[in-house]
């Protein structure tokens, strides 16, 4: 990669978020050994965050500080970052994590500095970037046609790399002024649908849209009753349909689970869902579509229609086969 390479670290509660260390791996994958780490916060918190970055990565850090950055908002980030990068060398890659915040500010940042924006990047080609499309069935190789490129990178596609090779990097704190914002942040609310039953379960039988109807939820209920310490999971789509309530949702905006067994029934395997269950001990997927992305994370795959296969499976088990 030519030009400068910047990693914008996201943070919460005074600590750098774990995805950040994965972005360092991404930089190495791009052949960049010395990206500049960046972090944005208010004067009270910036030094601690910048020091954490400098110590854990050994890389140089630019900390942008201003009272408008006390709480996250896309507007605060954009109005700080756009002037910063307008003054930086034109050829630059600016990278952040593909999380709810990264994707909130990255496109607007790109528009402000006439950059190309590529989201959910999961691999690198020959000067190109690769991302999943069409429900994870294919990947698109994308070429940037601007000298400045803003990327949001899928954290789970890269391993964390936070072992500092030697001395901590240099820290530079840059005052970003105190910008008056039209957005007013009002803090955060705890998850409405956290489900301890799901996080404790040894076996999760999980329902996807492939189940076909809300009535067929009884099939996954029946299947899960075979397992002691089991719980019912679901994709977001199933909860949106009202087939199960949101406390069952597994994925990036729902529960994150890692049971001993994850039995995915009629789940296509969208990246948002995989983010919540890919660390499960054993993944078994049942789906009618042999090309479904779920089969590429599954230990065992079965191509069958659930409406006939689940009753058959339960029957064979109860007969002692």
């Amino acid at each position: 990669m030519n030009g400068r390479f910047f990693i914008i670290a996201l943070h919460e509660g005074g600590r750098v978020r774990e995805e950040t260390w994965r972005l360092v791996s991404f930089a190495r994958r791009c052949g960049v050994a010395d990206p500049v780490m960046m972090v944005l916060s208010d004067e009270g918190a910036i030094e601690q965050l910048a020091d954490e970055l400098a110590h854990r990565t050994g890389l140089d850090v630019a900390g942008l500080a201003g009272s408008h950055l006390r709480e996250y908002s896309a507007e605060a980030y954009i109005r700080t970052l756009v002037p910063f990068f307008r003054d930086a060398p034109e050829e630059a890659h600016i990278v952040t994590a593909h999380t709810s915040r990264g994707i909130d500010f990255a496109p607007q940042l790109s528009a402000g500095i006439d950059a190309c924006c590529i989201t959910a990047v999961e691999d690198v080609g020959q000067g190109t970037f690769i991302r999943s499309v069409h429900h994870g069935r294919f990947r698109a190789e994308v070429r940037a046609d601007r000298p400045r490129v803003v990327l949001t990178v899928l954290p789970e596609a890269f391993a964390p790399d936070d072992v500092a090779p030697g001395n901590p990097g240099k820290v530079r704190i840059v005052p970003a002024g105190d910008i008056s914002l039209s957005t007013c942040s009002r803090g955060a609310r705890a998850p409405v649908h956290a489900n301890m039953g799901l996080t404790r379960a040894e076996v999760i039988v999980s329902a996807g849209r492939g189940l076909g109807s809300g009535e067929n939820i009884r099939l996954v209920t029946m299947l899960s009753s075979l397992f002691p310490k089991s719980a019912l999971g679901a994709t977001r789509a199933v909860c949106d349909q009202g087939w199960l309530d949101y406390s069952h949702q597994i994925g990036s905006t729902g529960n994150t689970v890692s049971p001993r067994l994850y039995l995915a029934c009629g789940i296509s395997g969208a990246i948002q869902h995989l983010a919540g269950m890919r660390d499960s001990g054993m993944i078994v997927a049942v789906n009618t579509d042999p090309c479904a992305a779920i089969f590429r994370v599954a230990h065992y795959g079965i191509v069958e229609d659930l409406t006939t296969f689940i009753p058959l499976l339960v029957d064979r088990y109860l007969r002692g086969e």
Binding site: S73, A74, T99, S100, I103, D104, P107, Q108, S110, A111, G112, C116, G125, T128, S132, V133, H134, H135, R137, F138, A140, E141, V142, R143, D145, R146, S182, T183, C184, R186, A188, R189, A190, P191, V192, H193, A194, F227, A237, T253, G254, N255, R260, S268, M282, I283, V284, C291, R296, H299, G301, I302, V303, E304, F309, L312, L313, R316, Y317, E321
Partner: protein, 260 residues
Amino acid sequence: MKILVCIKEVYDSPETLVFDESAGRVTFGPHTVFRMNRYDEYALEEALRIRERLSSAVVDAISVGSPRVSRIIRRALEMGANHGIHVQTPGETCLSAFERAHLIASAARGRGYDLVLAGVMAEDDMESQVGPLLAAVLEYGCATGVIFEEISADGGRVAVEREVEGGSRECLTLALPCVLTIQSGINTPRYPALSHVLRARSSELECIEASGLAAPPPTQGLVRILPPAQGRQGEVIEGAAVEKADKLIRILREHSLLPR
């Protein structure tokens, strides 16, 4: 209050896509069925609910694409939108979010929209960019992944909750005009009422040729479509359905996941 809802046409199921690996291309197979992007349905429904709360509101629906796209715009009218705008491109389109956002911005500019809603992403290319890029071009504020919204009594501000990792919510208030990208599950999209279906049948869509709208050169190009990454080399359990069931039971027992 004037509300614009951005809607996109997507295929109903990715199973009807045809992949030509040597050409690095995906095309729509002959049995492809098209419909409105589900996330955009939630955005449209939210706009209609705002109109029900604020009696003077007007809801326009806009989409960019081939002549076929007019069908989902008509669907938006059937659901209750007041007016449909079609930014028409010749033939099948493969536009980036950047190009779509600029075309929509060109069509929307000067029409005085107070609020622009879009789905949080498109189901097909999952870029999550049209909404925020449109906001940047129009110089509107923006919040993404919105799961709750409430417009102030004076119509000057909107309080929103964004859904973030693990189902937590970030609460913020934005000044209007602004763009909100709507997360699924915020509401339950309605089925068209007969009266709206009849009205939609006689409504004219406003058709704008994309070639006549100002848009900067694209920021990116699609090099090619690749097969998916290899992933885990899992075992596909083969055989008749009964054999598959028995084999799965055996595997689960061997791993002490099912009682004997």
